[in-house]
Symmetry: D3
Subunit: 279 residues, 6 copies
């Protein structure tokens, strides 16, 4: 028999036992509705690979990845080209995670994957569920090019489930006038990390569209928008979420084929590590 | 008023008047069913841009682009995410071209765009229509990942329209066993340029999936397969098609975002030029 | 006849009618004097292409591109290798624009293209013409490597036309000692956006050399200089120019071949959109 | 519990059961002695990832990957910086594979990894062991820059174990005069595929340094040398090895960080597939 | 005889006479212990090449490179694969520089090259030697993967020579818990440029690991870490070091093969220019 | 004093003494008239750098670089933007080389640099001077975009000096009809290496425009043209030139900024090595 040692090909610092874990990392390599530059389907595996280049220790949280009891469940296999069946698959698996008393940590794929996650979650947290969205784009369209199921419409559909006033948006800098009108109407926009404190007693779900970061750092995404956050800006917000009741989270929209230097993928991996520290 | 002169932003050497032209170049920037590395929707405009870097004269055919009376009609605008409506749009516009007594020269987009073109054509050429396919892949699947409308199934659907024995395949080097069985059954495979002579009296449609070229030259495509044609190999086949009754043609599957050096796009543009010379 | 619909290949949101427009966008793909990394001749068409990926709405100005009545006139065709004839061509066409009661919005090309624009403008605005230059480099050399007509000398020649004290420079961080001496002598440097208010009653021309942005964002330029503006820094200056009497503007020095990730080109396109909002 | 389905992250078409398999694929991500452009340590995982984009069917061999009963054992974990301990680890694990009655299929890493494999093998095949080397470089140096353990010396050390006349070299086009003298002395060079027939009754080990392929196709390698094989050239040699008694094989020297377009990695994956078909 | 003129291939603005110079620039293209993405051995020559694209004048220091009397001695040639012999070679040459009454300005190569420099220096400055380290990583490991001589352990070994309390660290944001414990114990961390004033009377050596800069700017390094300095952040620290008794300096860890756009190399070159201005 | 050893930064295997050398390698980093993708001014230094990665031994010629007694004189410094002064500088320096009884081996730069070399040479070889041109393009235009001094016109001007029937062209596959007419009229085209034997008694100058190689290998050039030579094709021609009376040679048109993978530059370096072997 082979004695190795062999490289562990899972996320650095994971708990190999699903049953014993508290948080389940779930890869969702779906990018079927992407309008401009696609390829986020390759993200979960490449973020995993890049995790091997990280330290397990976070100076920001003074905590080690091994203190977070998470299990890397691998990546779902989707029926390519069938958006609805793909979304159902996510919803079903996420439901299982919560039935088992655990929380999900999703890795996209495009932003639309957040919709079935919230659908599943809303059954377990029928009230006081707040979705905190880090994003460059409002994603508040009703339809995009005639299609309801689009990554540009994901927050609109989530609003219909949990109520638009339970969406809180951070880093938004692009969208249509109608979308900005919705933002104003429901006061979804947060500007200072301190504004988060109001949600401390809520059930908080965090969704990070990586294009919230400036394209200087995050060139590897579908729709880069100038004027974004530095890495430290994002970390300041995360630090303010430290003792929250976070019931789930995801990190989406890395498009590794547009990341020639490997920097975007390395950053995505570190965003995942730091967000895991919050949970 | 401005007097310029201004750069002509259309294909080099085109006839600006649709009515007076014999061949209509039609951009079809659709890549909705692509399974691996997408982005061929950006191809028509970038091939057009690269055409400005070409000479108008072809030493191979001893002919000038201006001798080919073609009009660049621009690129169709598709309802993103709606495959069937997109295919219908192509079919309808191609029908118009043949109603007007002209021929189409399509620029993809993914290979599925050839299907509605052939649907339209088959109404005008109900018999003796032969499709000559340059490609690395058989594209003879019935379905791909559960979907009938896929670029991997395009030739299967064309076979259902014109008969599988009217498909002739050149450069194929990848597919499933079942697909190779169809190839054998219907003797679709051509190995030597001289074998083309049998089709001289037919109505010939030529479809060039650029991945027929070796990935050393054509890195900018969705599914690169080793062991492909050199540029001169392809030209030898084209030269043998010189006096044929070509009723239409297309060049598909350039994926410019995977073409870091610009070589694939330049080659695509030259393939278009030389194929125009055949018509 | 073809019914399409066809993609509009002009700048997103333009007015197709020159006569009815207020602002004329003029591509000036000239890079004949560039000393280090050239290729800005490819910029106007690629910025145009990238405009299709933008929203038409600007949250910063709460305005839509369609509110700006601009016409995309296309790109001038230059006699390659003949610098003087190229500059004359620009001057002549820009004069026409002002004769027609419109304003120019130029897209370079290298920075030298601003010189003939100012020559033309100064005939229509013989006094109170102030040029506000966003740039990493002073461009105040008399000659560069023995040649007077150089992109490194463009502001010197403009100073000779409108007076050096009518040049205002923002973001400068590189040059020779002699150039910095001219800056001090004529107090050309602005440090805070609020300093702009003095020029509110002037006829203001804005020229944006994209290397004013940090190379982390703008790798795709000829001479990247560390220590530049973030996108938001630049927007803060633009916001302060909102109600000015802007008589013309240009955005120059994108070198798309050095922009592997596409981010620089996307940013250039957004800089153009936001600067259009000021006019 | 999660029901998935989940993506299989191992080599496409593998047998998940080591015990039941005939061939064991062993990743050896070691590149400690590389002199020029390193990074082959990243190759095994990225070749594995690229395998998902391949068909399982090989038209050349008319065989399916599932007909080859191979197990993907994963990648060894090496003590970084310690060459000798790394080589020992390989030797020990490969010995286990042959003790278990199986054959090894190694994925490098640099070419030096072949040395401990041959050391282990030579214990099981003390005679009639022939090593067939596909390579651009002779690798017949005694030392390289003062070090005996170097990828440039691997074949020299193998010659000392199995005898230099049991080395057969294909595709060599670079080396020092002394190395070419050894080649002549021991007649190691093969020029035509037909020359292979002499070794049909031997125990044949095949080592493929991917730089045997032309750099037009294989830019992603440490030391690209012009004048190499096309993919089809290599396949012709493989086809001639079809019914041989192949006791082991490896594919080495992919350097994925120099493979911007992804083509070299895709080709490496296909070389592995076709070589598996021979075994 | 040839009269040229020929391009000077040395660092821009150098003094060609070693004897007459005050500062000796020494290229140390060594990267033998790098764990992740190597290639810093190519840095000295490419930084030198990029220096030709710089101005000689620094607006920040209002000084010209010609005011700094430095000589470019070229790059040491190392015995590849032999770490200890390489380090000895550096130590010996640096000793010569100080025997000749000059100071060293090293260009790496990986960070381990700083160790033999400090070994040599500590013989000439047996007391009051302070090492100021700009870096993303603590580099305070005792061993890395079992090896003492590693770029991740360089500061630990330097601490053993000069005392850990004589190490001052700026920009650190990654490391193991044990390393951060050492930092706390010896109070090595500096947060504000003003804290530097305490070391004005010391003999200061400055070592700049370029990964202290944010990966948005410095993608071309072995281990990019989000949350780094902007170029101006670094310059502010340099400006505070202006009148210090700087006895030597180095700039290390550029990995040019990960710098597709050329920006990292250009920045590295400018960091060298500005740091030379301090000396 | 420093004892090093230091890396030799000149061409591998050169003779450091100009006086004692037979062949003088002269870098001519001029690209002032390039119409499409420029940057060949960076070629001489980067080809030199890449030479360090080569072996000194050529198996094709069974000869070592040290057998060729050549001196690397470095790169001329040109007055940027002044084409005529640049060409004069080349002519003057090349004249010196022949006055000193040596031969030139030029490294471009764009193809126009060959013109002043031939001007100088024709004074020393007033008759029987034949120029053998390897190129994708005829370069036989009288003017290009109104300018006589253009890299597209270089062979026309050379024809005026030495007579068009003394131009022999190999690999040509692009040009205007008028240029191909000149080729036919003067029978400039060679198709088989054996046709070279007629020129064995002539004074032969060889000029290699690297775009004669296929763009799959030589992406790093200004105007890539499909259908070019493989490296081995070119070597076959070189091998046939082995015992010729070669009075000078050059290798031009590498554009390193379009060579992402480094392969084109490595190939250029090897072409130089093999061509040196002929002399």
């Amino acid at each position: 028999m082979l004695h190795g040692p062999f490289l562990d090909r899972n996320w650095m610092g994971q708990n190999p036992d699903y049953q014993e874990s508290d948080v389940v990392m779930l890869g969702m390599p779906f990018d079927g509705t992407v309008s401009y530059r696609s390829g986020s389907r390759f993200a979960p595996e490449l973020i995993r690979l890049a995790s091997w280049g990280l330290e397990t220790y976070s100076p920001l949280f003074d905590k080690d990845l091994e203190d977070v009891n998470f299990h890397d469940a691998g990546d779902l296999e989707f029926p390519l080209g069938n958006t609805q069946a793909s979304l159902n698959l996510i919803e079903k698996n996420v439901e299982e995670i919560y039935k088992d008393g655990k929380k999900v940590f999703g890795i996209g794929g495009e932003h639309l994957v957040t919709l079935p996650v919230i659908k599943a979650l809303s059954k377990f947290y029928p009230k006081d569920l707040v979705v905190i969205q880090f994003d460059a784009h409002t994603d508040l369209r009703k339809k995009y090019l005639g299609e309801e199921m689009s990554h540009s419409a994901v927050m609109y559909h989530i609003g219909e489930i949990i109520g638009f006033d339970n969406i809180k948006q951070i880093g938004i800098r692009s969208g249509m006038k109608e979308e900005f009108d919705i933002m104003k109407k429901y006061k979804t926009k947060l500007v200072f990390p301190e504004q988060l404190s109001r949600f401390k007693n809520k059930n908080v779900y965090i969704t990070v569209d990586l294009d919230v970061l400036d394209p200087s750092l995050m060139s590897g995404t579908g729709t880069p928008e100038g004027g974004g956050f530095t890495f430290n800006d994002l970390m300041e917000w995360f630090k303010n979420l430290e003792d929250f009741n976070i019931v789930g989270a995801d990190v989406v929209e890395l498009s590794p084929h547009y990341d020639n230097s490997g920097v975007s993928t390395a950053i995505a991996s570190k965003v995942v590590r730091e967000l895991l520290m919050c949970m």
